[in-house]
C-alpha cells in the first residue's frame, strides 16, 4: 500500500476525467468511475509487481529517527520505491526519495563522487559510500542505516565529532621546522617516499573504518584506523625528521594507540579508498617496537 502512495501518480490522475462523459441510465457515473478506478488499481498493482521483478524500481528501506518530532522518536524503517536508472547509486536513490517523496529525509552528501567523505552509510550490512555504491551491485531491498557505533543525530546523520577528535589527536599536519633556506626553495620528497605514503594520503575522513571496527566500538578512546593511518602518512614522510617521527610514534604506542588493533581487517575491508589500513597499523607497531628495542 505504501508502494502505491510512493509511486509517482501523474498518468493515472490525468485519465480520471474521461470516465464521466456519457451519463446514461444504469450504474451512476460515480459507480462507473469507481469501477474503472478499481480496474486501474489492479492494473497498476500488476504492473508494480512486474517492474519489481524486472528491478525497474529500487526498494529502499531507510532508517528514520528524529528526536525533535514527537512520533518520530522511535526509530523505524521507511520504504521507498524509487524508479531505477542505469548507473544509479545508493545516494542517487536517496536523493530521489527525498526530493520526490519525503523532504524530511535527512542525510549528508556533497560531492557525489567519493571525494568529500560525507555520505558513508551502513548499506546492506556494510559501511559504504552512498555515492560510490551502485544499486545494481546490491541485493534488494536495499537497507540504508546510519553508521553503526556513532550516535544518530537524525535519520542517516551521525555525530562525527568523536571521529574528528581522534583524527586531530594525531596532529594530522606537516610540522617540520627545519625548512630549506631559500624563500622559494622546494622541499623535495623522493619518488619512492611519495609512493610509500601514497595510499595513506587518500583518506577522505568518511569514518567508515572507525564504524566497522569493533575494537573502536568497545574502546571509545582507541584512536581508530583512520587516525592511525593519518599518523602513518606523516611518520613515514621523509620530509619530517627523526625527532618528529619519534614524537609521532610516542603518540601511536600509547595505551589506546596501535596496540588496540587485533588485525580483524574490517577497516581495510570497508575503506572506500582502498587504503591498506591494517598494513599501516602493523607497520607502525613494528616501528614502535624497533624504536624501543635497544641492543646494548
Amino acid at each position: 500500500m505504501s508502494t502505491q502512495q510512493e509511486q509517482p501518480t501523474d498518468a493515472d490522475d490525468a485519465g480520471t476525467g474521461q470516465a464521466d462523459d456519457a451519463a446514461d441510465a444504469g450504474p451512476s457515473p460515480q459507480d462507473r468511475r469507481m469501477d474503472k478506478k478499481a480496474d486501474r488499481r489492479i492494473e497498476r498493482e500488476r504492473a508494480a509487481g512486474a517492474t519489481d521483478a524486472d528491478a525497474e524500481t529500487v526498494h529502499l528501506k531507510v532508517f528514520r529517527y528524529d528526536p525533535e518530532v514527537e512520533g518520530k522518536q522511535e526509530p523505524r524503517f521507511d520504504d521507498f520505491h524509487v524508479p531505477f536508472e542505469k548507473g544509479m547509486t545508493v545516494l542517487d536513490a536517496l536523493i530521489y526519495a527525498r526530493d520526490e517523496f519525503d523532504p524530511s529525509l535527512t542525510f549528508r552528501h556533497s560531492c557525489r563522487q567519493a571525494v568529500c567523505g560525507s555520505d558513508a552509510f551502513f548499506v546492506n550490512g556494510r559501511q559504504r559510500l552512498g555515492c560510490q555504491t551502485q544499486i545494481s551491485d546490491l541485493d534488494g531491498p536495499v537497507r540504508v542505516e546510519p553508521l553503526p557505533h556513532q550516535d544518530v543525530v537524525k535519520d542517516l546523520v551521525v555525530d562525527m565529532e568523536h571521529f574528528y577528535e581522534q583524527m586531530h589527536a594525531v596532529e594530522p599536519y606537516f610540522q617540520e621546522e627545519d625548512l630549506p633556506d631559500g624563500d622559494l626553495e622546494e622541499q623535495y620528497q623522493t619518488r619512492e617516499n611519495r609512493e610509500k605514503v601514497k595510499m595513506s594520503t587518500r583518506c577522505i575522513w568518511c569514518g567508515a573504518c572507525m564504524s566497522s571496527c569493533n575494537i573502536a566500538a568497545g574502546d571509545n578512546e582507541y584512536l581508530g584506523p583512520a587516525a592511525i593511518n593519518k599518523a602513518y602518512r606523516f611518520a613515514m614522510d621523509d620530509r619530517e625528521g627523526e625527532e618528529l617521527k619519534e614524537h609521532r610514534l610516542r603518540i601511536m604506542e600509547q595505551e589506546h594507540g596501535v596496540w588496540r588493533c587485533q588485525t580483524q581487517f574490517s577497516c581495510t575491508e570497508v575503506c572506500p579508498k582502498d587504503i591498506p589500513l591494517t598494513e599501516h597499523i602493523q607497520e607502525l607497531k613494528r616501528e614502535a617496537v624497533k624504536k624501543n628495542l635497544k641492543f646494548w
Binding site: 532508517f63 529517527y65 528526536p67 525533535e68 522518536q73 526509530p75 551502513f122 546492506n124 550490512g125 556494510r126 542505516e145 546510519p146 553503526p148 557505533h149 550516535d151 544518530v152 543525530v153 537524525k154 555525530d159 565529532e161 569493533n214 566500538a217 587485533q262 588485525t263 580483524q264 581487517f265 574490517s266 581495510t268 575491508e269 591498506p276 591494517t278 598494513e279 602493523q282 607497520e283 607497531k285 613494528r286
Partner: protein, 141 residues
C-alpha cells in the same frame, strides 16, 4: 548538539550481518584460545586428583591404581574420544591461525590474509579427519 538515540538492538545485530574472513578468523581464534585454556585447567585437575596411589608400588604394578583406572575409564568412553577429536581440531586451528597472526604481525602476506585463513581451516579439517581412526580405535561405541 542535539540529543541522539542509542540504536540498541538495531546497532548490535546490524553490525554482525556481513562477516569478512578476517573477522571470522578473529572470533575463532578467541574461541579456540579460551577452549584450550579451559582444557588445560580441566586436564590439570583430572590428573592431579588421580595421583592417589603414588608410592604404592604393588597397586601400580597390578594396574589398579587410581591413575590407571581413571584414565582407562575415561578413554573407554565414546564421548571422551569425540571430545579428543574436537580438542585436536581446536588446537590445530589455533596453532595454524596463530602462525597466520604472527605472519600478519611481521607484515608478511597481509594482502593474502583471507586466503591464509581459509588454508588454516582446510588444513585443520584434513588433520582432524585423518586423526579420527587413531582416536577412535578400540572404543566400545
Amino acid at each position: 548538539m542535539s540529543e541522539s538515540y542509542n540504536r540498541g538492538l538495531i546497532e548490535d545485530f546490524g553490525r554482525w550481518r556481513e562477516f569478512a574472513p578476517g573477522m571470522w578468523a578473529w572470533i575463532l581464534h578467541k574461541f579456540t584460545g579460551w577452549i584450550l585454556i579451559g582444557y588445560l585447567f580441566t586436564h590439570i585437575a583430572v590428573l592431579s586428583n588421580a595421583l592417589g596411589a603414588a608410592g604404592n608400588e604393588a597397586k601400580i604394578a597390578a594396574g589398579e591404581d587410581i591413575y590407571t583406572t581413571t584414565l582407562q575409564g575415561l578413554e573407554g568412553l565414546f564421548l571422551i574420544r569425540v571430545l579428543e577429536v574436537g580438542l585436536l581440531a581446536v588446537a590445530v586451528f589455533h596453532i595454524l591461525n596463530g602462525v597466520r597472526l604472527l605472519m600478519i604481525d611481521l607484515g608478511i602476506g597481509l594482502e593474502a590474509q583471507d586466503k591464509s585463513f581459509y588454508i588454516s581451516l582446510v588444513v585443520t579439517a584434513a588433520i582432524t579427519v585423518a586423526s579420527v581412526p587413531t582416536f577412535m580405535t578400540g572404543v566400545g561405541a
